[in-house]
């Protein structure tokens, strides 16, 4: 590990110069000759039959390209996992803002007015907006029972624990929708000609997802669909599946018009029409012994998927697998359910189900602590998973993780004990209350279970004519450092300089399918394949005699140049092979759910102002074991950014729904933290390595999303003496809870709060 020169160092971001000079090209910076603008006519009701569409005669409709479901040559669906989501609604709509028609015109402003002019009449049907309503089943809006998917994880004999329990602790916890709020809105340009087929350029995470969706929609073979990723201004999961929709729309308009078409959403449309984090509700019932050990329990985890199935089954999967937290459960029954409502479908957002179920677990641990009479620290310490023990899916923890020791380090870094004691004293008087709270958790990297085998990712590395080496992956850069880290890996594997390695723009005609850029898999899984493929280039050169066993970077370049000149391009491929000994049963949901877990202790210090009921986070310690830090600056950036989003999830970001439609779809009213709202976020790492990951790395992209919300709410409870189990937690909620508490002395709220 110590001999590495590039991996583990803070090399400059590959595309960094372009970003700080304004040269980086995002989709709205791109213009094609003859290009039209496209726009979407959307449903204004949550559910109903489309009765009539009227095009007022005041507009010369021949000047517009108009596309409806009838124009779809392939299947009218967004091919993802299921096929229930139409690309364009034809007979009925199932959520507000559902796309019905597409228009294109050379003039953006004229186009917008045309969209507004079209009137659609509906026969409304009863619509459902909450999980509880949909569970009642009085109205069936999807399938036979409004349920997209269920899972059941069963370990040990749960039904026996209740009689042995000294305590039975129950709790219900809920989380709201959260908007990804990438600063660059969704956008695509599509072009079509008979010879090359459809080409789309856009802001996206998964070129091959879009490729697959366009093939099905446009009824085109693989070689007649080309998808190119432009510089992407943030994604966080919000550009995992949604781009297939906007790309499909642009493509349909391009096919019909024969001209390139650009669709770029403005903020209001992006917020109201695209995916958000699944709202969740978790119910815990836990059997605990006198000395605070979890004996077993039941966890019921429900998520609201919106109107169509999209990714809900996978979000549910990750949510249920993480629901038991980093603890040893001798027995547990976890039941998960994803249900339908008449909201725009919810989708991927960093963490993907785990932030929801881990919020519940970590709030519940504090409740267990209270009931049993132990501290939040002690209750966790006594239940942490240890090497050799099994998770809820009966995966044995093989790595030498010592969560107790990690906890100790976290306590020291955050000065937890001294602060807790000091706050407890200071809270006796004054109108502000301070608290400190903790969350301990894990996050599995890569696709669940057999997912990576199903993806069967392929990576290429190319020896170029100039002697340099180029990485060929469909993994995309959207700020997390994909380009930088994969180039570091290739350079390290080959003994080259960082500058000798470049990476191709993700273009489905140029790069193989290395899988989607999701699930914290890029460095760990794809990176490892890059390592192999890179070594393959070296092998080719060695075998052909132009390269010795040891060489300088310049010698490598010379060898590569001469080989390419003599034999043409060198390409080396590597394909994912499941590691031996990884066993997963999709039916029973048992086995090795993930090849590797990162582990974390997060500690939040908060102040609650009893005059305004605002909560501010004053200090945040994020400590995690991540296998290997491949780039210290990028890794800190990932954690800090994820913590900031987690703080938003906990305290600021509320989606206000009315009849299934987001009302606060502007940045003025959907509140994300500014630079003045966030504390210094202090990031610390530990490294245990990982045999399954490139240079020992595990995934870190999503990990930081899981911890902040429960740590903060645990801190709020420490400050006030009573707690909240639903996020986002707004000042209005704190006020309402305080107002409901019976007061003896109206003028002194402080005396009511321990």
């Amino acid at each position: 590990m110590n001999s590495e020169r590039i991996v583990g160092t803070a090399v400059p971001r590959k595309e960094g110069l372009d970003k700080v000079t304004g040269k980086a090209r995002y989709i709205d910076d791109m213009v094609l000759p003859g290009m039209l603008f496209g726009a979407t006519v959307r449903s204004q009701i949550p559910r109903g039959k489309i009765r009539r569409i009227t095009f007022p005669p005041t507009i010369s409709w021949n000047d517009y390209v108009i596309v409806s479901a009838k124009d779809i040559l392939g299947k009218n669906c967004i091919a993802l996992i299921g096929e229930d989501q139409p690309c364009l609604a034809s007979e009925c709509v199932n959520h507000p803002e559902e796309p019905i028609l597409l228009l294109a015109h050379p003039d953006r402003h004229v186009l917008r007015k045309a969209v507004e002019a079209i009137s659609i009449e509906y026969d409304p049907l009863p619509a459902i907006f909450t999980m509880e309503e949909t569970e009642r089943g009085s109205e069936i809006i999807w399938g036979t029972d409004n349920t997209f998917k269920t899972y059941r994880i069963e370990k040990g004999d749960v039904d026996q624990v209740w009689s042995k329990a000294d305590y039975v602790v129950e709790g219900e916890y809920s989380t709201g929708a959260q908007e990804q709020l990438y600063i660059e809105n969704n956008g695509m340009i599509a072009a079509f000609d008979e010879q090359s087929g459809v080409t789309v350029w856009g802001s996206l995470q998964c070129p091959y997802y879009v490729h697959k969706a366009l093939m099905a929609l446009c009824n085109l073979p693989a070689e007649k669909v080309r998808v190119v990723q432009m510089e992407t201004g943030g994604a966080f999961g919000g550009k995992e599946d949604y781009p297939s929709i906007i790309a499909g729309h642009a493509a349909l308009l391009a096919i019909k018009s024969g001209r390139p078409v650009k669709i770029v959403y403005d903020r209001a449309e992006d917020m109201v029409a695209t995916t958000k984090r699944h709202p969740s509700r978790t119910r815990h019932r836990t059997a605990v012994s006198n000395d605070g050990k979890i004996l077993g329990g039941e966890i019921e985890f429900t998520i609201d998927g919106g109107a169509y199935a999209t990714l809900s089954s996978v979000v549910l999967s990750r949510g249920v697998i993480h629901a038991a937290g980093p603890y040893y459960w001798p027995s547990v029954r976890i039941r998960g359910k994803a249900v339908a409502t008449n909201m725009p479908p919810h989708g991927a957002f960093r963490g993907f189900g785990a932030p929801q179920s881990l919020f519940a677990m970590e709030r519940h641990m504090d409740r267990i602590a209270q009931v049993v009479g132990l501290s939040p620290i002690e209750i966790r310490r006594r239940n942490f998973l240890k090497p050799g023990e099994t998770t809820a899916t009966e995966q044995t923890v093989h790595e030498p993780i010592d969560l107790g020791k990690l906890l100790d380090r976290g306590l020291t870094l955050s000065e937890y004990h001294s602060k807790k004691e000091r706050f407890s004293r200071q809270n006796q008087t004054g109108t502000t209350k301070k608290g400190i709270g903790i969350a301990s958790f894990l996050h599995g990297a890569g696709f669940t279970g057999s997912g990576e085998r199903y993806l069967s990712s392929v990576v290429g590395v190319e020896g170029c004519a100039d002697g340099g080496v180029r990485v060929l992956v469909s993994s995309t850069e959207f700020g997390q450092g994909t380009k930088t880290v994969l180039c570091q890996i290739a350079a390290e594997a080959l003994g080259l300089r960082y500058e000798d390695v470049s990476i191709a723009q993700p273009d489905t005609t140029q790069v193989p399918n290395s899988g989607p850029t999701v699930a914290s898999r890029t460095v760990m899984v794809v990176g490892k394949l890059v390592e192999s493929a890179a070594r393959g280039i070296r092998q080719t050169l060695t075998l052909s005699g132009v390269l010795g066993d040891s060489y300088t970077a310049d010698e490598f370049r010379a060898a590569c140049r001469s080989h390419v000149a003599a034999h043409g391009q060198i390409r080396s491929w590597a394909q994912y092979e499941p590691p031996p000994g990884i066993f997963w049963d999709d039916q029973t949901y048992r086995g090795e759910a993930y090849a590797a877990y990162s582990w974390a202790i997060y500690i939040a210090e908060v102040t609650v102002d009893l005059n305004t009921y605002n909560v501010s986070v004053n200090d945040f310690v994020a400590l995690q074991e991540v296998g290997r830090v491949l780039h210290p600056v990028l890794a800190i950036g990932q954690i800090a950014g994820g913590v900031a989003q987690g703080i938003g999830f906990a305290l600021y970001e509320k989606v206000i729904w009315q009849q299934g439609r987001m009302q606060n779809n502007q940045m003025t009213n959907y509140i994300m933290p500014t630079s003045s709202d966030l504390p210094p976020i202090r990031v610390f790492f530990e490294e245990l390595g990982n045999v399954h990951g490139a240079f020992g790395a595990k995934g870190i992209g999503e990990l930081p999303m899981d911890g902040p919300a429960p740590a903060i709410l645990n801190a709020v409870e420490d400050a006030l003496g009573f707690g909240f189990n639903s996020i986002p937690l707004l000042p209005e909620d704190i006020f309402a809870a305080i107002a409901e508490r019976p007061l003896e002395n109206e003028s002194d709220i402080a005396s009511e709060v321990r």
Binding site: I183, T232, S675
Partner: protein
């Protein structure tokens, strides 16, 4: 050109951008943001929200930071405007650009042009800002990727850097 129906209503507007005097025709209520991007090709100026909240469209206008999505282009008449494209001095990066690269201040990059200009404006008023001053100075520029930590580092580092800006050709 100005007599055609499409062009009627346009005004002749002149301002300086990145040191160059520009003369153009635009409808007075076109947003400065759109004129910079579409007529002048300065696509480094970004649109994130269109409502003056995210700061991605920030430019310097007569030395002060403004949100170009909220400036009607007529009001830019005679002004001196600096966009991210004008920050570097020839092939030499501005010290803020270098600091952002070194410290991880740019992740996805979409907020970066506006953020760097906001930092530039801050340093012009407060050459050695405290953390609180940096936080306040950048509070109108939203970043979703970084949690601001490494952006603050970058601004602090640039404030300390007295050395001349490094070459654009080889960022170190």
């Amino acid at each position: 050109m100005i007599d055609s129906p499409e062009e009627r209503g346009k005004s002749e507007i002149s301002f300086t951008v990145n040191g160059e005097r520009k003369f153009l025709f635009a409808f007075p209520m076109e947003r400065l943001l759109d004129v910079l991007r579409q007529q002048l090709g300065l696509t480094g100026v970004k649109e994130g929200c269109g409502e003056g909240e995210c700061g991605s469209c920030s430019v310097l206008m007569d030395g002060t930071l403004v949100n170009s999505c909220l400036v009607p282009v007529l009001q830019a008449e005679g002004a001196s405007i600096v966009t991210i494209e004008g920050l570097a001095d020839g092939t030499r990066m501005h010290k803020l650009q270098r600091a952002f690269l070194e410290c991880g201040g740019a992740q996805c990059g979409i907020c970066t042009p506006g953020m760097i200009l906001a930092a530039c404006h801050l340093l012009s008023k407060k050459p050695v800002p405290t953390l609180a001053e940096i936080q306040e100075g950048l509070s109108g520029n939203l970043c979703r990727c970084t949690g601001y930590v490494q952006i603050f580092d970058a601004v602090a580092r640039a404030a300390q850097a007295g050395t001349p800006p490094s070459s654009l050709m080889r960022p170190e």
